[in-house]
């Protein structure tokens, strides 16, 4: 479950890079920026629950 998270993030990263390169060369700078922003938000949505779960476990484990 968490290992393929890494590959998903890598896939989104590579995809966004390629798309923004293509958009840049075809002259649409703002679209390139929007796609990279969208990719960033998607990855953020994936990783924030894991970070939340990490800190929840820490709190319960170490009785912080």
């Amino acid at each position: 479950m968490s290992v393929n998270l890494i590959f998903k993030i890598a896939a989104v990263g590579i995809l966004v890079t390629v798309i923004s390169q293509v958009l840049k060369h075809s002259g649409r700078e703002e679209h390139a920026f929007l796609t990279s922003l969208a990719g960033l938000i998607i990855v953020l949505f994936w990783i924030v629950p894991y970070i939340y779960e990490l800190f929840e476990t820490m709190q319960s484990l170490f009785a912080l």
């Binding site: 993030i9 990263g13 990783i47 170490f62 009785a63």
Partner: protein
Amino acid sequence: MDILRIAVLGIAGVLIALVLKKERGEYSTFVSMAVCICIFFYIITKVETILSFAERMETLISVDSSYIALVVKMVGITYIAEFAMNVCKDAGYAAIGNQIEMFAKMSILVVSLPVLTAFLETIGSFL
């Protein structure tokens, strides 16, 4: 045997982050955080066995249980601060990382104050 799995996971994560480093720096930070979280889930099992051992030790030696709880709290604070600090330093922002480290040191000092006062009181009672 799972140390091999951890090592391979770490190296694979580093290689993937390197691919993304040049074009998109932020994704390499995401990948490194994801790898840290994966390895953390393996650490949890080890920490649980250590904590259960600590509880068993408590019954053997008549140590005040609050002291062991304090030690465990300090370890928790250290681990979270270490995680956050290293993520910040990896992304290239050492200043923020050092602030987190300083806060962690202060909070550990505050947590350990009761132990210090108890220790000084016992010494005072001797004199």
